[in-house]
């Protein structure tokens, strides 16, 4: 028995990512998109100044060999066509914008209109203002606004934060990524953040899923069971806006009319780094060094 334990420990070694603030995701990861104003965008077919989509691996040009129908792979869709294509209606044609609260990061818009939209691998996408999630050609970065954070949050939760996760219709991938934030690689426990079993022990609620009608009451009861001060985080496109399920009669999102979230985390699913960076920014912690007094 000890020989097998030794082998596992030896292969396992040290697993944690040492500097989470310097972690980078591969180029192909679809993170924060960068939009170009349609009036200024290069004509499709002009030499791309670094705007080529990063996800057609193997160097396949979207209009190159192997394409079957011209309409499927015609480059250079207009904003209006993109708005019709988007599965959740996240793209608005005028003014040209992309709502990260609805975006499922499928990347189809960037494939069809590489001159207008490009997804970077920047996972910093947390925001505490719903309107800040609407990306425009002027958006350069996305980070929670410290002035909007309630004072008691930074004061109370600077060193220890216990969260309770409630899934209200989530399909499971964001829940698994939240669980992965606790694992040996991401290990957000090092910052004093933890998920807890009881709402009475929790300082805040993390919600995933579009909020089904059948979960509406259970959700309210759980939120009320948490002692003040408490915070509310909504994780994933489904939770922020209903995602693919917005408009379904099986959904009941009135909870969000009564309680305003403190943090929005886009993603499909939310990447653990997005979650960790978002919570750290919300509670005002630096990744290294001492907490700054505010």
């Amino acid at each position: 028995m000890f020989r097998t334990k030794f082998r596992v420990l030896r292969s396992h070694g040290i697993q944690y990512i040492k500097r989470l603030d310097e972690a980078a995701l591969p180029e192909i990861f679809r993170g924060r998109p960068v939009l170009t104003d349609p009036a200024e965008a290069a004509h499709p077919g002009d030499p791309q100044n670094g705007d080529a989509p990063t996800h057609t691996a193997g160097g396949d040009d979207i209009s190159g060999p192997g394409a079957c129908n011209g309409s499927t792979t015609r480059p250079g869709m207009t904003p209006g066509e993109l708005a019709a294509l988007c599965p959740t209606g996240a793209i608005t044609a005028t003014p040209f914008s992309l709502d990260l609260g609805r975006c499922l990061f499928c990347g189809e818009c960037a494939r069809r209109a590489p001159h207008l939209i490009r997804f970077t691998n920047d996972y910093h996408m947390a925001a505490n203002d719903r309107r800040a999630l609407v990306i425009t050609p002027q958006t350069t970065a996305l980070t929670p606004d410290p002035d909007l954070v309630r004072r008691e949050i930074t004061r109370t939760f600077g060193h220890a934060l216990k969260l309770r996760e409630v899934c209200a219709g989530g399909e499971g991938s964001t829940e698994m990524e939240l669980g992965a934030s606790m694992n040996v690689n991401f290990d957000f426990g090092r910052y004093g953040i933890d998920f807890t079993a009881s709402p009475r022990h929790a300082d805040g609620l993390v919600l995933t899923g579009p909020f089904t009608e059948n979960m509406a009451r259970a959700l309210e009861l759980c939120y009320e069971a948490i002692a003040e001060p408490k915070l509310l985080i909504v994780a994933g496109a489904d939770a922020i806006s209903g995602g693919l399920f917005a408009g379904s009669p099986a959904i009941d999102r009135r909870f969000l009319d009564r309680v305003a979230p403190d943090l929005y985390l886009p993603g499909n699913p939310v990447h653990p780094l997005t979650f960790i960076h978002g919570v750290m920014a919300l509670t005002g912690r630096p990744f290294t060094g001492k907490k700054r007094k505010r």
Partner: protein, 304 residues
């Protein structure tokens, strides 16, 4: 004066032990792990939070955390730390020690039953059973120490411990082993219970505190640390008294016990709940064997 030093060292140990256990587990898992004093930050945050009481909670529920902490703290007053004597000492205080710890547990069990939740009821039933099965082990351990030194007060047991013959080191070593197991049972660690579990159906100790929040929960956490420190100091005193009886050795032995618990938690799975009763009875049986061994060794000495 001596007593105050003992108490200070005990509380200091209580604040260090959770950190040592967590750090050991983190190293064995290859993760960065929580900060060493994260448990203090958690309690600090809890003290700033408000309280939410369910409608079925009565005065037992509200009083239990204070009773638990008070009883555990009073038990600490009876323990010496190395050569420093205890604050309180009288004949038979070994029994009072055991029953003060039991009083803390009883308060929590009653509070858990008052909430009317089926989980908490189950957890309370389990805790009551394990407490009842483990109590003989604690009393037998204290009894062994009383037997070999002829004293019935902790302060006097350890004061005269320096004069024991070297054979007693075996007995003290076994007492250390039983004490580590007792700490595991009393503080609910693997293999008896998993303090990090989120599964209410499998909880023993954690489910009883499931309905507490804010300052109440903070008091209960502190009570847990103090209890672990008390039992560890008891064993560390016993072993140290056989070779090098000074506070530094006692501190080192107590922290070594914490590290051992951390290693056990990393490499072993927890028992099926149905097997826990047998596991705890085994510890009690071992404590009985230790008692008999001490008796036999002592008889040899008087005859030979």
């Amino acid at each position: 004066m001596e007593g105050i030093i003992s108490l200070t060292l005990l509380v200091f140990l209580a604040l260090l032990m959770p950190g040592v256990v967590n750090r050991t587990r983190a190293v064995m898992a290859g993760r960065r792990g929580v900060r060493f004093f994260q448990h203090l930050h958690n309690v600090g945050t809890l003290l700033q939070k408000g309280a939410v009481y369910s409608p079925s909670a009565g005065f037992i529920f509200r009083a239990a955390p204070a009773v638990c902490l008070g009883a555990t703290f009073t038990a600490l007053l009876l323990l010496p730390f190395g050569t420093h004597g205890a604050l309180l000492s009288f004949n038979g205080d070994v029994v009072l020690f055991a029953y003060l710890l039991a009083l803390g547990r009883a308060a929590l069990i009653l509070a858990a039953m008052e909430t009317g939740s089926s989980f908490e009821g189950m957890g309370a039933a389990r805790e009551a059973l394990y407490g009842a099965l483990a109590e003989p082990a604690l009393l037998l351990t204290a009894g062994t120490l009383a037997l070999v030194t002829g004293q019935t007060s902790f302060a006097r047991i350890f004061a005269s411990a320096g004069s024991l013959p070297p054979q007693m080191l075996i007995v003290m070593g076994l007492i250390l082993y039983v004490a580590i197991k007792l700490i595991i049972v009393e503080t609910g660690r693997i293999p008896v219970d998993d303090p990090r579990t989120h599964l209410e159906l499998t909880m023993v100790h954690e489910v009883m505190v499931l309905d507490y929040c804010g300052a109440d929960l903070a008091l209960l956490h502190v009570a847990e640390w103090l209890k672990a420190a008390a039992l560890a100091t008891l064993a560390a005193n016993a072993v140290a008294s056989a070779f090098a009886f000074n506070p530094l050795t006692v501190l080192a032995l107590a922290l070594a016990q914490a590290a051992a618990i951390g290693v056990v938690e990393s490499l072993q799975a927890r028992n099926k709940l149905a097997r826990n009763a047998t596991y705890i009875l085994t510890i009690t049986a071992l404590a009985f064997v230790v008692f008999m061994l001490a008796y036999v060794l002592q008889q040899n000495i008087t005859i030979g």
